[in-house]
């Protein structure tokens, strides 16, 4: 690298209780480069970036920022304001948006004086518009963020960082919710911006992206930096080995004859209050021993479809048939009893009850099970035992059966949900964005469990924005766009990508 350094992390260490989240990590970042930060969940990437941004106070270590003349200045630690002033911007993995405000207010937050008589929203809008034009990241600016889709919110997050005129931009899994085309566009724009002097650190699990768009790759494992390679010399296998220490692979999909229909949707229509809350005339069949992949960009009706099948929404017209029985009582608990296992889209919000313990969350959908209760009284010991058995079987790692479920990492929360769903041996599994935000190891685990369920005879609906995942797991593929579901004849990336964007294939 011939360009001057902009940032130097020196021996940053952070301990949470007994967990060493970061152990003496040092990193350098040069002007105009894209540095990819890779690692499993819990490897310390987010902790490291939170220290950089002043959200966490490091136990030891220093951070130096280089100004234009190339002299190093120590950054005041544990102070987000100092980090912003030094030109560091961060796009968090979990959205930091106020949902009651519109996008423009969220973007302006913190960069305007409190007591200006008139807020200059017009000027701010012009600046945002210019950033949107330059980067191609579009989102509606004048409706409350709570009404935007997950994808749109992600874009607002990125715009918010760009609005601060950053010199160093940290992106924590920025593409998790973007379509392949949007992600490519984003990286194109990042490339343009790095040419103009922006330095980018990005955290991602998608090796394809990392290899294609970064200049350098740093790999973290268990809170230590275990390797640093130039992207030109790297390949997927090499990085994966560094990340997990061993190789994980998705077991290949065996050919299998699909059985009789498990779920049938017959002209299902839901008229919501807006277009994105509606689906119209959806027909689909899922058979035993089959994975039906539903591709689509979030906000095109996937959530509505999933909620209809799981009984959270009443159809306006049309029928839902489970094993050719019409589901009339749209009551989620009846539907679970009837053999539908759900892996919800927002696992933190809809998948677990964060305040309850891991053990309690394991049994939430099966309270009548004789194993854990008798005459309506729960048997605590049996519940804990049950939880410990399943934790081993499904590799749920965390602070124990009696800890609050919210303390688990995203990957482990998903494993907890998988354990709960698969133990009930469901006839139909409804997996909505099951690997979103998960690292390779955990995502491979989810994929393997879904294939295993298919083997056992379940029908699976896999709703995902990740085209690679859809293509590698599905027996049949459908695309949802604007509330309408269409079957895909040929399983190729180009065709499906176009259909996801609403262009007829």
């Amino acid at each position: 690298m011939t360009s001057p350094p902009v940032l130097h992390l020196n021996g940053l260490t952070k301990t949470f209780g007994s967990v060493q989240a970061a152990q003496s990590i040092s990193l350098e970042l040069f002007k105009g480069e894209v540095l990819a930060l890779l690692g499993e969940n819990g490897a310390g990437k987010t902790t490291l970036m939170n220290m950089l941004f002043g959200h966490y106070m490091p136990d030891s270590g220093t951070i130096d920022i280089f100004d234009t003349s190339g002299t190093a200045k120590p950054l005041q630690l544990g102070n987000p304001q100092a980090a912003i002033a030094a030109g560091i911007g961060m796009v968090h993995q979990h959205f930091t948006l106020a949902e009651n405000l519109d996008a423009l207010d969220n973007i302006m937050l913190g960069s305007e004086r409190f007591f200006d008589f008139r807020r200059n929203k017009t000027k701010a809008m012009q600046k945002v518009q210019k950033i949107m034009d330059d980067s191609g990241l579009a989102a509606p600016m004048n409706i409350p963020v709570g009404k935007l889709t997950v994808g749109e919110r992600q874009r607002v997050e990125i715009l918010k960082a760009l609005y601060q005129d950053v010199k160093i931009l940290v992106l924590d899994e920025p593409t998790a919710v973007l379509t392949p085309q949007e992600a490519d566009k984003l990286f194109e724009n990042i490339t343009t911006m790095t040419k103009n002097g922006l330095s980018v650190i990005f955290i991602s699990h998608k090796l394809r992206e990392v290899l294609a768009f970064s200049n350098r790759i740093a790999v973290l494992r268990h809170g230590r930096k275990v390797g640093e390679i130039s992207s030109k010399e790297a390949n997927e296998r090499k990085i994966a080995r560094l990340m997990v220490g061993e190789e994980t692979e998705i077991s290949s999909r065996k050919k299998m004859k699909s059985g009789e229909a498990v779920l049938e949707l017959d002209n299902l229509t839901i008229s919501g209050s807006s277009k994105r809350e509606s689906i119209s005339n959806v027909n689909l069949i899922v058979k035993k021993h089959e994975i039906l992949g539903i591709a689509g960009i979030s906000g095109n009706g996937q959530t509505v479809l999933a909620n209809a099948i799981s009984g959270l929404l009443k159809p306006s017209s049309g029928k839902i048939k489970l094993e050719s029985e019409i589901l009339i009582s749209n009551d989620p608990s009846n539907i679970i009893q009837a053999g539908v296992g759900r892996i919800p889209e927002d696992r933190h919000k809809d998948g677990i009850v964060g305040q309850m313990t891991v053990a309690e969350n394991m049994i939430l959908e099966d309270l009548s099970n004789k194993r854990i209760q008798s005459r309506g009284l729960l048997n605590r010991e049996a519940i804990i035992q049950h939880c410990e058995d399943l934790s081993v079987k499904y590799d749920v790692r965390g602070p124990g059966a009696n800890a609050s479920a919210r303390l688990l990492s995203g990957g482990n929360i998903q494993k907890l949900i998988l354990a709960r769903v698969f133990e009930a041996a469901p006839k139909l599994i409804l997996a909505n964005q099951p690997t979103r935000g998960l690292d390779m190891g955990a995502a491979a685990d989810v994929a393997n469990r879904l294939l295993e369920a298919r083997q056992r005879g379940s029908g699976v609906i896999l709703i995902s924005e990740d085209l690679d995942e859809i293509l590698s797991l599905s027996d049949r593929i459908m695309v949802i766009y604007d509330g309408e579901l269409k079957a895909v004849e040929t399983h190729d990336r180009e065709t499906i990508g176009l259909m996801m964007a609403g262009e007829a294939a």
Binding site: L101, L109, R119
Partner: protein, 314 residues
């Protein structure tokens, strides 16, 4: 029925409604600011007492009327600060802390009252705020008595409605307060202080609540009595929900309650012989509950209300 219409057409009824609404306007605006930042302030009832007592006593000890208002505001800010420290950086239960502040502020006020006036059976009177007479306007029929014979504190309350609305909807500060009450991380990520915003909102909100109390002893009456706040603080907590955290609707809610109360007093004299007075006394509260039930079903609570936030933990 004819009696009711008679009452509704009288200017004294409307003047009374606005007068009764004044302390509620202060209180509901104060509660609104606290809750918009994500903190419920059940200290309100005690802060009313503290404001009523301290403002009145300051005037009795020789401070001017406006000096008394400032003292009341500072007393409110002090108790607000206690609530803020307990609930924001320490993250304690907002319900428990708020009720604690109410008990504490009430007792401290009674304590000072008794210490200063050990043996009096009726408290000394002060010269309270007089209605602001405005030439010509005050003499207008109907409008004159309703609007232009109110005291300066009522005008201050109405001005505060506009000011709070302006700050919440037209300034960067308002945006930040709304953001911290919805998702504190959004504020933290932009380098603003979650603690600073919340503590500031609670302190300012509590000062406003105390002005509601001060109105009672310095404008509505001319002395401090035990039990004179009489649940007005709690009414404000309900009115905030009724108003879905909007200053304009808060004004409407306070006026509505004031009108119910003014109506019941007049109804007592009209038909008091036939119906027990307790029915009338309860009427404003019952009607408030009914109005609240209707409004609260649509209420959108600030998402982070009651949820403590800790730095470096997400």
């Amino acid at each position: 029925m004819a009696e009711i219409i008679q009452i509704l057409l009288s200017d004294s009824f409307w003047a009374a409604s606005l007068r009764i609404a004044t302390p509620l306007i202060f209180g509901v605006l104060g509660a609104l600011i606290c809750e918009k930042s994500g903190v419920l302030n059940l200290g309100i009832e005690g802060i009313f007492v503290a404001g009523a007592m301290s403002g009145w006593m300051a005037v009795w000890l020789g401070a001017g009327l406006w000096g008394g208002v400032i003292v009341a505001g500072l007393a409110g800010a002090f108790f607000g600060l206690i609530h803020a420290i307990l609930t924001v950086p320490l993250g304690l239960s907002q319900h428990v802390s708020g009720l604690g502040v109410t008990l504490f502020a009430t007792s401290v006020s009674y304590f000072f009252y008794r210490t200063a006036l050990p043996d009096v059976s009726s408290p000394p009177r002060i010269e309270p705020f007089r209605p602001l007479e405005i030439p010509i306007l005050s003499d207008l029929p109907f409008v004159g008595p309703v609007f232009f014979q109110q005291t300066a504190l009522t005008w201050l309350a109405l001005f505060m409605v506009g000011l709070v609305w302006y700050i919440m909807n037209r300034t960067g500060l308002g945006v930040a307060i709304k953001a911290v009450g919805d998702n504190p991380n959004s504020v933290d990520a932009q380098g603003l202080s979650v603690y600073g915003l919340r503590i500031g909102a609670i302190v300012v909100g509590s000062a406003l609540m105390a002005l509601g109390g001060a109105f009672l002893t310095m404008s509505a009456f001319d002395a401090f009595f035990f039990g004179m706040v009489n649940g007005r603080g709690w009414i404000c907590i309900a009115l905030v929900i009724f108003a879905s955290w909007k200053p304009g609707k808060a004004l409407f809610g306070a006026l509505l309650f004031g009108a119910f109360d003014a109506l019941q007093v007049r109804m007592q004299t009209e038909v008091g012989a036939k119906v027990p007075t307790q029915v009338f006394l309860a009427a404003p509260y019952v009607l408030s509950i009914v109005a609240l039930v209707i409004a609260a079903r649509r209420a959108e609570y600030p998402r982070a209300l009651l949820t403590p936030w800790f730095k470096g933990q997400r």
